[in-house]
């Protein structure tokens, strides 16, 4: 893939700077913009290969969903008492992954963290696609998916409205809001870059395409002023939103009565978990992308270092949650809670609980050392572990709690079927198809923000030595 890249600088790893040496307005613009404006027929084979592979998984996904609609959700392993299985596990898992994007683009914007600039665009894209993958599960997990529109409050001939006390109904609003706001925020961020592409594009179709999308942005000072205000407001909205979404999803469990679900610590603990695996996913995506597209100058080791720190921090919060559960199951003196922990840690599926501890608690401790934080293979491995671990966390919460609740005679088992796996693995197909399209059609790094970063760096330089120099070419 690299070979087919026009601009390929010598790989110089930068550890303490957010920009590679000698980056200028033009160089960054070209680096990012040309990946997109590259002629269609000269699309790199690597991209085509990846896209086709992802497409195949998407086919598997569609096949299993088609079977689901025609035969019934009995094709999954769910039963009574374990009425939720892979469907909801994957739903929570994907939504969690999504959160990192919003966090990077919104919260870090509020905190004026410059390091977000070169990763926020891709992270936001990841958010949107992850939310898309997540959103499908609650829609298809119903027994009669063709009636899902009953979740919406519309004046129906039945005279019925949704039942607003149900956490699932809260989800409907939370997820749709989250998806909408993420898309809006994302698009607003894209406008100036789309204008850049419009002006750099050679091919008329590309010009028209980006021209229309950019709404005719011309970078007027007045517009910039309002634009920055709007982004600030959106960031201000997204921040509580991203916290609320996973809190509300945690309500699905926390509001219920089930031992192992009925837990007050869930909201913060779910949010932290979401950030945790979200950042892991960002790292997973960034490591290959930067080397394929030669973005070493834009996504530097500093970025990975900082992201690792965030992962470590959120990981510790999650770990606290695990120990919290164990503690109050004993301290509360509630026999059901206590038994739950006993069966989790020693019961038939105890291995999955210990796998979760290994992947989520033990392995990430490596991140304490900067050596590992900046060693991409190790980082890649840790990120994979965290994503697996977080999947197991949802497995433990959902399945292991449902298997054994109050009345021992109704305890059950859960064995995933082929279709459970197919609907899970297949959803990666959807995710990567969308992601490949994104890297081909839209700038995967926020160009104008990076130019702004160049600008700021220049100024820092000037302030040091009282000289006047020019940015740009």
């Amino acid at each position: 893939m690299q070979s087919s890249q026009p601009l390929k600088p010598p790989v110089v790893e930068t550890y303490d700077e957010l920009l590679g040496p000698g980056e200028t307005y033009t160089s960054v613009t070209a680096k990012i913009g040309d990946i997109v404006l590259y002629p269609l027929l000269k699309t790199p084979w690597g991209w085509i290969g990846g896209f086709v592979a992802a497409g195949l998984f998407l086919m598997l996904y569609l096949y299993s969903l088609a079977t689901l609609f025609t035969v019934g959700i009995g094709i999954w392993g769910i039963n009574i008492p374990v009425a939720w299985g892979f469907d909801i596990i994957n739903f929570v898992w994907w939504i969690g992954i999504g959160h990192a994007g919003t966090l990077i683009s919104a919260i870090l914007l509020l905190f004026r963290q410059d390091w977000r600039t070169s990763i926020n665009r891709a992270a936001e894209a990841m958010t949107i696609f992850a939310v898309a993958c997540a959103g499908i599960y609650p829609l298809v997990h119903t027994g009669r998916p063709w009636l899902d529109y009953w979740f919406l409050p519309y004046p129906s001939t039945l005279g019925m409205w949704p039942q607003f006390r149900s956490p699932l109904e809260w989800d409907v609003f939370a997820i749709s809001t989250y998806a909408t706001v993420s898309v809006l925020f994302w698009f607003v961020g894209l406008i100036p870059d789309l204008a850049t592409l419009r002006d750099r594009a050679q091919h008329p179709i590309a010009k028209i395409f980006y021209g229309i999308l950019s709404l005719g942005w011309r970078g007027a000072a007045k517009h910039w002023q309002r634009y920055e205000m709007a982004s600030l407001i959106l960031a201000g909205l997204s921040t509580p939103l991203v916290l609320s979404v996973h809190s509300i999803i945690s309500f699905d469990f926390a509001v219920s009565q089930l031992p192992g679900w009925h837990v007050t610590v869930f909201p913060p603990y779910f949010v932290a978990g979401a950030v945790y695996c979200g950042f892991a996913m960002v790292i997973l995506l960034m490591i290959p992308i930067r080397s394929w597209f030669g973005l070493h100058g834009l996504i530097t080791m500093r970025h990975f270092d900082v992201m690792s720190k965030v992962m470590l921090a959120s990981g510790l919060i999650v770990t606290y949650g695990y120990f919290g559960e164990i503690f109050y199951s004993w301290y509360s003196g509630n026999i059901y809670e206590y038994y739950l922990i006993v069966s989790r840690t020693t019961g038939p599926w105890a291995w999955s609980y210990w796998a979760l501890i290994l992947f989520n608690v033990l392995v990430p401790q490596l991140l304490w050392s900067k050596k590992f934080r900046t060693n991409l293979p190790v980082l890649f491995f840790i990120s994979i572990c965290i994503n697996i671990g977080m999947w197991f966390e949802r497995w433990v919460i959902i399945v292991l709690s449902l298997k054994r609740d109050f009345i021992p005679t109704s305890w059950g088992v859960y064995t995933p079927t082929f279709y459970d796996w197919a609907t899970y693995i297949g959803s990666f197909g959807l995710f990567f198809v969308l992601f490949f399209l994104f890297v081909r059609l839209l700038p995967m790094v926020a160009i104008f923000e990076v130019r702004d970063l160049v600008h700021k760096t220049e100024h820092k330089a000037h302030d040091k030595k009282e000289g006047h120099g020019h940015a740009g070419a």
């Binding site: 008492p81 026999i335 059950g412």
Partner: protein, 980 residues
């Protein structure tokens, strides 16, 4: 009648095939072929194999004819008399009840059949009838499904080829003429006066009549013979017994008398006040039985050692037999039991089971005499069925056949090729008979071995009469004209002598002759008899005086080594109803096993044999062997292997074929119930068993789920003024006002329930609950709305057994309702948690949040919406649920509304006892009470006011409307260890 159906009904080969061409064009036919899987069959997701394809084709042809006309509303030709209203006024939507009766092992049980626009949809007990007194059991409840079974035999077959009744009629006549004294008739045991008369008439000089029942009570009969010199019939009055000692006798379940006896026992166990008085029950048995679950002191002993126990009791109460030496624990049990028995002379019952040898029964008669129970709690009457009906009788027949003395054999309603003990080799024997005529509901194993197969009528389709265990005679009146134009035994018998007499004329004629009344008065008597379901002229027979002869010792040397015990399957009994999905899927007591039988062993024996549940072993005895999966059951006597009869059918139908293994293959005519010297060899195979319950330990949650105490304990606490511990209920928000109008509630008395499953099947019949099959149950998707939870406590060799029926509790703070995003489950003003099927989207969140896990989900399209005959069985008052919706118990809302409509029309309030839920109605022990808790005078309100009431998981503040009575063990302080 449409052309097709005519062709099928009375068809010679050619027209039959011609009609096949025609049929293959019909929509029904194609629909049948396009069906992905037969829903009433076990394997939900199996592709249709070639074999079942042919079956479907066969079915489709008959069904297409049925669609033509047969399933239309059709009253029988003759005048039948409704129980409450005149049938002329069939009001659409209103059900009519007709008194009728069915036979169990030859004895009559009076029933009321509910009819919707001419379709019998459900049967209940007839309150006037001594054997049912308004209750029923799982077997009776499931009999409706059998009538509508699409696999029922639908045409007469001659050597497997369709033939007409005309052909059969002439053929039978000539064969009978030739046979003369070579005629033998083999029927299931029958006490039906008209049938007995008809058979006697046909069986002229030389010819003989045999009766066979695989579960026959020959031992009991022989026991009476030994004790009194005449095979008197014993009737027990458990409602007068303060102490009951049951020796391997499951008298509350699975027989013609069990419903009545269960009621009587329960009447001495039910809690009605805060100072409960209970009878005390001792049970010694090799394997847990429903009666054993009731016991206050249960002793697990090998079947062969029961004799010794009996003899010890006998010796202790003064019967002149030597006291055998018993193990210490057993000795203690006997001593205590005897003490209680002697303290309650004249108010106790000692009873032995039909699986015990005659000598034991003789001893028991002596014991009851010694305890002065005869005349009070134990009564003797003249025998109702005065003949051998077991192995002896069948053996005599086979000997005759082998001696070449039989040229014609008429087999009626008994699948003898399947259910005969293996050593008699029935199939071979039948080959030696020139003409074998088989009359039966199914084209089964015996039909295949017969020259002629005539499809019989179901009891709901035919006229007839029955005689109960105490001599009471009831009439059978058809609720619907025979679906497939089947024949009744009396018609076949008349055909032999060339007479064409309908079953109706036969039975009516018989009784006109019997009662000797003139036309008019007889008609009136006939009307009354049909109306009440009881023939006034022939009610209960008085007891006959008996003189006790000398009874010998029963205890042989107790055999070491493994004991192989044959038992009737708790659900399928002898296997004649193997094609009944409801019975296949109802979880067996204790093991909760469905769709299979197993080799049951105790945990200790299992470890001794080095096997565990689901291991496949080979059971070998007398050179015959079968492969069976092991199932470890606590509370079974060590060194015993219990196999249930009724499985391994090869020609039962789509549902019953190939389910389980055939344990008749191990049975021999000299060891019908217990056989010694069985060898168990472990194979390396394993077999998947499907159960509806996998965990039997309360995990120390009894304080919240099942409150159990010894009666003594409770009474002491009461005296000391200690209140029974209940959780304080707080609420953060104002309670909903339930103080006005009807507020429905239920109590279940755990002291009366013996876990007989009557409620489970009754609920299934009432609420159109689908059958899902083994694979789905294995996945944990059973659909029954009410389940009976079983807990074992104490040591696994002889645990205390608790059973607790659980259905939707109708919580006032229903956790399921809050989490439903579309308000598909909501509360109504009368406190019922309604499930709105139409609104349900199927998120299953409600089930996750239900602490009782009583909700059931349609993971697939379980309800069979294609098979016409099954459609007819459905209760029109209850929605048939589609794929993807949740369902659950709703206190039989349809029955409440029916009562409400009546009350409104008559401008009154619903009276207490007017609304009876299906489970309550069926329950033989009347453990379930339902009613309006706002009406303080109602029975349910009174019971709920008792101190002994508790609700399940009340610590969750769900405020259930269903409450329970503390499970008391009325244990004898002398006998420690079994007390909680």
């Amino acid at each position: 009648m449409s052309k097709e159906s005519l062709d099928i009904q009375g068809s010679s080969g050619q027209s039959y095939w011609r009609s096949l061409e025609e049929l293959s064009q019909s929509a029904e036919f194609r629909a049948r072929l396009e069906r992905e899987f037969p829903r009433e069959a076990a394997e939900l997701r199996d592709p249709v194999s070639r074999r079942s394809f042919l079956k479907l084709m066969g079915a489709s042809m008959a069904l297409s004819s049925l669609v033509g006309c047969q399933f239309a509303l059709k009253q029988p030709q003759e005048k039948i008399v409704p129980y409450v209203r005149q049938p002329e006024q069939v009001i659409p939507g209103r059900s009519l009840y007709f008194a009728t009766s069915m036979t169990v092992q030859g004895y009559g049980i009076g029933l009321l059949a509910e009819s919707h626009e001419g379709r019998p949809t459900k049967v209940e007990g007839n309150a006037f009838h001594p054997a049912s007194r308004g209750s029923s059991d799982a077997w009776i409840q499931a009999s409706v499904l059998t009538m509508y079974d699409p696999d029922r035999s639908q045409q007469i077959l001659k050597a497997g080829q369709p033939a007409s009744w005309e052909d059969a009629f002439t053929a039978l006549g000539s064969a009978y003429a030739q046979a003369g004294s070579g005629l033998r008739i083999l029927t299931e045991p029958t006490a039906s006066p008209s049938l007995v008369a008809a058979i006697q008439e046909v069986v002229g000089a030389g010819a003989k009549w045999y009766q066979y029942d695989a579960l026959s009570g020959d031992n009991t009969r022989a026991g009476a013979q030994a004790a009194f010199g005449s095979a008197v019939n014993t009737i027990y009055a458990f409602d007068k017994a303060d102490v009951v000692v049951a020796l391997d006798s499951d008298f509350t379940h699975g027989s013609a008398t069990s419903i009545r006896y269960a009621q009587d026992v329960a009447s001495k166990r039910r809690i009605t006040s805060d100072e409960p008085v209970m009878s005390r029950i001792y049970v010694a048995e090799p394997t847990p039985s429903n009666t054993g679950a009731l016991a206050d002191h249960r002793l697990a002993v090998k079947s062969g050692d029961i004799a010794a126990v009996t003899q010890a009791i006998a010796a202790a109460v003064g019967v002149s037999v030597a006291a055998p030496t018993l193990p210490e624990a057993t000795q203690k049990w006997v001593a205590t039991a005897v003490a209680d028995l002697q303290a309650a002379t004249g108010k106790s019952v000692v009873i032995a089971g039909e699986t015990q040898p005659a000598a034991v029964h003789a001893l028991v008669h002596a014991i009851n005499a010694a305890l002065a129970n005869v005349g009070s709690t134990v009564n003797y009457t003249a025998p109702i069925i005065d003949a051998d009906t077991g192995a002896a009788s069948l053996k005599a027949l086979v000997d005759e056949i082998n001696a070449g003395a039989v040229s014609m054999l008429v087999i009626a309603d008994v699948n003898v090729v399947y259910s005969a003990p293996a050593d008699l080799n029935m199939a071979e024997a039948l080959k030696k008979v020139a003409t074998v005529v088989h009359l039966g509901l199914y084209n089964d194993e015996t039909a295949a071995a017969s020259t002629w197969h005539i499809h019989a009528t179901h009891y709901l389709e035919s006229w007839g009469d029955t005689r109960a265990y105490n001599g009471v005679v009831s009439l059978q009146q058809p609720l619907i004209a025979p679906l497939y134009d089947g024949k009744h035994l009396s018609e076949v018998l008349n055909a032999l002598t060339g007479k064409r007499v309908s079953a109706h004329d036969a039975v009516k004629g018989h009784w006109q002759a019997q009662l000797g009344l003139d036309g008019f008065t007889f008609d009136k008597a006939w009307q009354t008899a049909l109306h009440d379901g009881i023939v006034a002229g022939a009610s209960a027979i008085g007891s006959t005086p008996v003189t006790l002869g000398t009874v010998g010792a029963a205890a042989g040397a107790s055999s070491d080594g493994l004991e192989l015990i044959f038992r009737a399957d708790p659900s399928l009994r002898d296997g004649s109803a193997a094609n009944n999905g409801w019975l296949q899927e109802v979880p067996k007591p204790f093991s909760k096993l469905v769709w299979d039988n197993s080799a049951q062993v105790s945990p200790e024996t299992a470890s001794k044999l080095g096997v565990k549940t689901e291991d496949v072993v080979t059971l070998t005895i007398n050179g015959r062997s079968v492969e069976a999966p092991i199932n470890v059951v606590p509370g079974q006597a060590n060194d015993t292997v219990v196999v249930h009869l009724g499985f391994g059918r090869t020609q039962a139908g789509k549902v019953g074929n190939g389910v389980g293994f055939n344990s008749y293959a191990l049975r021999s005519s000299d060891a019908m119930w217990v056989a010694n010297g069985v060898t168990v060899s472990k194979t390396d195979k394993t077999y998947k068993l499907a159960t509806t319950q996998s965990h039997y330990n309360l995990e120390g949650r009894d304080f919240d789920i099942l409150h159990a105490k010894t009666l003594a304990e409770y009474l002491e606490e009461k005296k000391a003024g200690v209140k029974h511990k209940k959780h304080e209920i707080y609420s953060l928000f104002p309670a909903y006002d339930y103080s006005k109008g009807y507020q429905w509630g239920m109590t279940i008395d755990l002291n009366a329930c013996n876990g007989c499953n009557a409620c489970v099947v009754a609920c299934q019949a009432e609420n159109n609950i689908p059958v899902v099959g083994k694979e789905e149950i294995w996945r944990g998707r059973e659909m029954q709305w009410i389940r009976i939870d079983t807990y074992f406590s104490g040591d696994s060799s002889n645990p205390t057994i608790y059973q607790q029926p659980i259905a939707c509790m109708q919580c006032e703070h229903a956790p399921c309702e809050i989490v439903c995003p579309v308000a598909a489950t909501v509360h109504d003003s009368e406190g019922i948690n309604n499930m709105v099927y139409n609104r349900c989207v199927g998120t299953k969140y409600c089930s996750n949040n239900c602490p009782y896990k009583v909700r059931r989900f349609n993971f697939f399209q379980y309800a069979d919406e294609e098979t016409p005959s099954l459609k007819l069985q459905r209760n029109p008052d209850v929605t048939v649920r589609v794929r993807g919706v949740m369902e659950k118990c709703n206190y039989c809302l349809q029955r409440i509304n029916e009562a409400r409509i009546d009350a409104t029309r008559e401008d009154r309030v619903i009276q207490d006892g007017e609304v009876v839920t299906a489970c309550q109605q069926a329950c033989p022990s009347q453990a379930i009470v339902f009613g309006n808790i706002n009406d303080t005078s109602s029975q349910v309100a009174k019971l709920k006011a008792l101190e002994t009431k508790f609700t399940v998981l009340d610590s969750l503040n769900t405020k259930p409307r269903t409450s329970y009575m503390i499970k008391f063990t009325n244990s004898n302080p002398e006998l420690s260890g079994k007390t909680e």
